[in-house]
């Protein structure tokens, strides 16, 4: 039960510990793998975004710059044509001659974008005008000298005017003004050309950035010059409020060339720009973010997916690995627990093919060694036990032999002693002639010493017989009253000789008992004899009573008493209380021991109560009706 209890606790603790180990290692593993994967992902994304952005920026800027260059080239081409026409060959008296009109016709023919041209004299008045659409007459009253294009051209520069949206046409125009210089440094007038910038549209239309990226052109005022979506241009859409266009004003030419903005349709786009010099326009290149970053996003999604799969695989691997590591550990722990519980047959089966298997094999070897040692130990114990039993049997046998020898020896000793005592009595009785007074007194000493010797021998014989297991009780009916009486009669003279008061106190109507009468008498005689022997004054009382199926017989004396320490010893063999008063009393020292054995063979108990100086009471109990002898004491 205890074992189960303990193992129950153990498995709980194991589970708890298992949870801890799994959690710790699993989380550590997942954190490590997942963390590194995530870090890789983040770094990769960062780098890729940065790289993509950089690439996009380069590409878009190049696109924008390319577009700007083309527009500029176009404008420059037109301007060159105008400038070429301004190198007037038909000059007279400091102004263009009438033949100059052919130059202007050539110009209009060569450059379709030019709508009309106007030659202005140094005084600011028109000198010649040619239009692509029908005839045009000179406006002699108009003075152009205050106009910015006149001033710029008059100063020798090429003037590019702002974009204009005339009321009669939906096509935006600009004015280009150049000085009329027949010879370098000799300005004789100003030539202005109205250029239809619709042709920029074609340039813009041709620019494609990626799938749906586009370019458009805004003027420095934010007016839309060209856009692939013509409708916007025709609407004369003002782009100055568009954030990316507004931002241009705040930026230096080399400022951030790329940014993310909402386009005119409300879509998020990546916008970059490039300036078109001279005209002050800006080419904007816009590309929807989704498209610009599309490949990146797809790539990142792919990478993310791969990382997710890798993470999941790592988690799965961690779980598997954890279990793989945990299983043998648990197996080992279970084995150790079983071993601890004493199951030496424990055998672990860990087939992981790694250090765990080696460990399990080590464990199994250890268990086997333990088993061997245990078996060896048991065998040794068995052998020792057998040896001890053998020894014990031998000792017992020896003891029996000794006791037998003593019994035989006592008998052999007694036979000649009996003869000596017999002869002595016959001599004393005058069988061999009347002995003298002196001889009689000596014979009396021989008789007394002989009887003493006989008593000693008898004691030894008794004890030997008891020890040899040869003493058996002869169970008969008896009267305790008669036993007490016979003992009393036997030693009455002895007590009287010492001047002691000697009496019996026997309960009236004692039931008849069943036991070995002669042995009981021997015990009582021994106790009474001792009491008389050791008591020099006072009284000796024999008390007998029956109670609850038990006789209690007590012999009380007023002798010297026995020390507490000696009380337990006196019932052991060959133990006498030391000290001169007792030593001089003689005796074999076996009497009490024999008495104890006899009482115990009856199933009774014997004990002494005594105080030094105030006498002793030896008591013993006997079952009134003993049916069977108790086991040998």
């Amino acid at each position: 039960m205890d074992g189960e209890h303990i193992s129950g606790n153990g498995s709980d603790a194991l589970k708890q510990r298992r949870g801890r180990i799994v959690r710790r290692y699993f989380l550590t593993f997942v954190a490590l793998v997942g963390g590194s994967l995530l870090a890789t992902l983040v770094l990769e994304m960062g780098f890729r975004i940065w790289e993509t952005r950089w690439n996009l920026e380069v590409v878009h800027r190049q696109m924008a710059e390319l577009a700007a260059l083309r527009i500029r080239n176009y404008i420059e081409n037109v301007a060159d044509a105008v400038r070429h026409a301004a190198q007037a060959r038909h000059v007279a008296q400091g102004r263009v001659s009438g033949e100059y009109i052919t130059d202007l016709r050539d110009l209009l023919r060569n450059v379709p974008a030019i709508r009309d041209v106007l030659a202005i004299g140094l005084d600011g008045h028109e000198t010649m005008r040619l239009s692509r659409i029908g005839a045009s007459s000179l406006d002699g009253s108009t003075d152009h000298s205050a106009e910015p294009y006149f001033a710029a051209a008059r100063a020798g520069k090429t003037y590019f005017g702002p974009v204009m949206f005339p009321a009669d046409s939906f096509e935006p125009r600009i004015t280009i003004a150049v000085p009329i210089e027949p010879f370098r440094g000799e300005i004789i007038g100003v030539l202005t050309a109205t250029v239809n910038v619709r042709y920029v549209w074609d340039v813009v239309q041709e620019i494609h950035v990626g799938g749906s990226g586009y370019a458009y052109v805004v003027s420095d005022s934010g007016a839309l010059v060209a856009h692939p979506d013509l409708f916007l241009v025709l609407q004369r859409k003002d782009f100055s409020t568009l954030p990316q266009v507004a931002a241009l004003r705040n930026l230096a030419q080399d400022g951030a060339s790329i940014g993310t903005y909402e386009n005119v349709y409300g879509k998020w786009v990546l916008a970059s720009h490039a300036a078109v010099p001279d005209v002050g326009w800006t080419v904007m290149v816009e590309r929807p973010l989704t498209e610009a970053y599309g490949p990146l996003m797809a790539s990142l999604a792919r990478t993310g997916g791969i990382l997710l799969v890798a993470c999941l695989t790592a988690v799965g691997a961690a779980a598997l690995l954890g279990r793989r590591v945990l299983y043998p550990i648990e197996e080992l722990r279970r084995g150790a627990a079983r071993l601890e519980a004493g199951d030496l047959e424990t055998k672990l089966s860990v087939k992981t093919g790694d250090e765990f298997e080696e460990l399990a094999e080590d464990f199994n070897r250890m268990a086997a060694r333990l088993r061997e040692s245990y078996a060896d130990l048991e065998k040794k114990v068995e052998i020792r036990t057998r040896q001890l039993e053998e020894k014990s049997r031998q000792l017992e046998l020896e003891s029996r032999h000794k006791s037998q020898f003593l019994a035989n020896m006592s008998h052999e000793l007694r036979t000649p002693l009996n003869a000596i005592l017999g002869y002595t009595e016959l001599i004393m009785d005058g069988v061999y002639g009347e002995p003298s007074e002196q001889m009689n007194s000596v014979l009396e000493r021989v008789d007394i010493n002989g009887r003493h010797l006989l008593g000693l021998i008898n004691d030894v014989l008794d004890l030997s017989k008891i020890e040899a297991g040869q003493l058996t009780l002869s169970l008969t009916e008896y009267s305790l009253q008669e036993v007490v009486q016979s003992v009393f009669t036997g030693v009455e003279a002895l007590a009287a000789g010492k001047g002691l008061a000697f009496r019996t106190d026997v309960q009236a109507d004692l039931p008849r008992g069943r036991g070995d009468e002669r042995r009981i008498a021997q015990v009582l005689l021994n106790l009474t004899g001792n009491a008389i022997k050791f008591t020099d004054a006072g009284e000796v009382t024999i008390k007998a009573s029956a109670h609850n199926g038990t006789f209690t017989i007590a012999v009380r004396d007023t002798g010297p008493g026995i020390d507490q320490a000696d009380q337990a010893r006196i019932f052991a063999e060959f133990q006498q209380v030391d000290g001169s008063p007792t030593r001089t009393k003689g005796g074999s020292g076996l009497g009490l021991s024999i008495a104890k054995r006899i009482v115990e063979m009856h199933g009774g108990r014997i004990w002494v109560e005594s105080t030094r100086g105030s006498g002793s009471t030896f008591s013993f109990t006997l079952p009134i009706a003993l049916e069977r002898q108790a086991a040998h004491a």
Binding site: H411, A419, L426, D429, V431, Y432, L461, T472, D516, R519
Partner: protein
């Protein structure tokens, strides 16, 4: 008329003590060294009393007593068995064998004499 007593005793000293004691008071004593001779001696001498030791060679006291008591012409002769000290159950066995009385060694010659007289008076 002199009373005749048969002493069955293997030990010389014991025989002599009994013989000296008994002849001293005027009994006629016959002796047998062991149980085997007891029957023949009793038949030939027809004693008035037999003192029988228990520990005897050839045939022990019990068996000799049983045989004497089994003989119709001898069964009236009183037999006093002398039992060895401390051998428990001797008295019972002696009674069972059919003896009339017993004394236990060591016996006092005076007490034994008193017991013998009570049977022969």
């Amino acid at each position: 008329m002199t009373k005749r007593i048969l002493v069955v005793e293997d030990q010389e000293d014991n025989r002599r003590i009994l013989r000296d004691m008994l002849t001293n008071v005027g009994y006629e004593v016959f002796e047998a060294e062991h149980g085997g001779k007891a029957l023949a001696a009793a038949t030939s001498h027809h004693p008035d009393l037999i003192l029988m030791d228990i520990q005897l060679p050839v045939l022990d006291g019990y068996e000799a007593t049983r045989q004497l008591k089994a003989e119709p012409t001898l069964r009236e002769i009183p037999i006093i068995v002398i039992t060895s000290y401390a051998l428990s159950g001797d008295e019972g066995k002696a009674r069972a064998a059919g003896c009339d009385d017993y004394v236990t060694k060591p016996f006092s010659p005076r007490q034994l004499l008193a017991k013998i007289r009570s049977y022969l008076s």
